[in-house]
Amino acid sequence: MKDFDRRWIFLAMGIVVVSLFTLEKPTEMPPSEYVQSYYDTIEALPEGSIVMLSADFDPASAAELLPTYQATIHHLLRRNIRVINVATWPAAPPYTRAGFDEIAPLYGKAYGTDWVELGFIPGDDVAMGSIGQSLRSAYATDDRDSTPIAELPLLDGIQDRMEGIEVLISMSAGYPGILEWIAQVGGRYEVPILTATTAVQTPDLFAYYPTQLSGFAGAATGATQYLQLVTVDMPVAVEGEPETLVDVKVNNQERMLIQAGAHMLILLLILVGNLLYFFTKGSR
């Protein structure tokens, strides 16, 4: 075992992932109750209500969170819900800008009245406490073209202590993220919280659902299930058209197959490794 070159395993993993890219067989997955509540909570919001969407991730975890982020933006804008975007991770705002620039025109939404980008705010827990205490104290200007936030019509109805915000949604990749939002905002002010998280953080969330967390889409599995729910009444993918949410869904479903292949490989490696271990242990 000591002399075994682990690069052979690296190679095996690479081959499995790359070779499975040829599979084109999207598989539907039934949504879990947690993803269903994430979807239902957004569905239940009245039109015109205001939601705070926090981007708490960076490129390292965008692979897991970006599909849900895009789908959530589609979902909110399609239901005519207005969105205040914030971020507690410095590398997140470009995703917000790109996402809304692409999706908002599809639903005829205008900056300033239908969505605003307040951008990154430093300070982790303190930043969240500050946003909850007073959005106007936390931000001087928006992040798009440094408009003073007093000039953004969307924020007219927003008071301190989260008043006027119907739901807080966090796209959470770790610290700071959903657990800090629950502590600094959910515990202090009465605002329901939803979240989409990376796989590593997902097991933590079960301890907060349903009392402190109204729903969550965890990991690539949760993302795929949510994408299926959101795209139910969307037109099917058209070959040659620019990327649509349906394409993202199909792509995610296909990713799950590659994922399955890689999981099998890992289970096989654990099995073989253990068998070797137990057989050689006897002979030692």
Partner: protein, 289 residues
């Protein structure tokens, strides 16, 4: 719990000075604070508070002993976070204990660090440990090594030490992130006895699967209290224990009440609702069955 009292006082003063929803938290902080002071004072006055031994702790001595027998060094990885992280501070206290043991046995101790500030702390701890053992000559400055500030580069460096210098014991205590997996695996492949500990639960699966002994979650802080016998640490652990007993009592009573009297009526909301209103300041629901 004291919600009704506070409500009465506030009604009398006609200004809502305290947010009723937050009263249970206030009470929790006050109770915990009171217990903490009580037990810290007791510990300072020399009252014996027992701390149970933790399996991973016995393993520390065993691992150092085995290294001595084999004539190979001990490797101590103090996590990768900065000194502001409380786990790193605790790791330095444990390092002092480990250094004392290795100095007694005359076994070399290698400490690779990721942060330059942690390095000065590590040097200090190892020196102190050698002094404690009465062997100041056992301190070797070159064995406290700053490798790199980059996560994976540091990790590759530690893996390199593991394969080249073949320590017989790898001790990994502190704050770990994604690199825990690589460290534990590299160490396992060299056949060293591995003791790991962290309060960061996300990394514990890898340590449990690949290390011989794992100090898990809160055990990590108890180990520090056990080794240092610092009265304030011991008192804090005692206070946490008592607070947990209170939590357990609340949970048990709540679950039993909820099971025995699941439904309230409109006129009588039922014992569970009264219990929750009393302890958690939750409003009694209007709609009974």
């Amino acid at each position: 719990m004291f919600t009704s009292v506070i409500l009465a006082v506030q009604a009398a003063a006609e200004t809502p000075l305290i947010d009723v929803d937050k009263v249970p938290t206030l009470v929790a902080i006050l109770i915990f604070g009171g217990l903490m002071f009580l037990f810290q004072n007791q510990a300072k006055k020399g009252k014996e508070i027992p701390i149970r031994r933790i399996a991973g702790l016995d393993a520390l001595d065993e691992a150092i002993g085995r290294s001595t027998e084999m004539g190979r060094p001990v490797l101590y990885v103090p996590g990768i976070d900065e000194i502001k992280e409380i786990q790193t501070i605790y790791s330095m206290m444990i390092l002092r204990h480990v250094a004392r043991k290795t100095a007694e046995f005359g076994t070399p101790l290698i400490v690779p660090v990721k942060d330059s500030v942690v390095m000065t702390f590590a040097e200090e701890s190892v020196k102190q440990g050698c002094m404690d053992a009465g062997r100041p000559d056992a301190y070797i400055a070159d064995n406290i090594r700053y490798l790199s500030n980059e996560q994976f580069a540091y990790c590759a460096g530690v893996a390199g030490i593991m394969t080249r210098e073949e320590p017989a014991a790898n001790i990994m205590l502190g704050m770990f992130f994604a690199e825990s997996l690589i460290l534990a695996e590299s160490g396992f492949a060299t056949g060293a006895i591995q003791v790991a500990g962290t309060a960061k639960q996300h990394q514990l699966p890898f340590f449990v699967a690949a290390c011989d002994y794992t100090i898990m979650g809160e055990e990590y802080f108890a180990v520090t209290a056990y080794l240092t016998r610092e009265p304030s640490l011991v008192g804090t652990i005692r206070a946490s224990d008592i607070t947990k007993i209170l939590a357990i009592v609340l949970i048990v009573v709540g679950v039993v009440l909820g099971t025995l009297y699941p439904d309230g009526t409109k006129d009588d909301p039922g014992p569970l609702q009264h219990f929750r209103a009393f302890f958690f300041a939750e409003p009694i629901a209007e709609t009974g069955k």
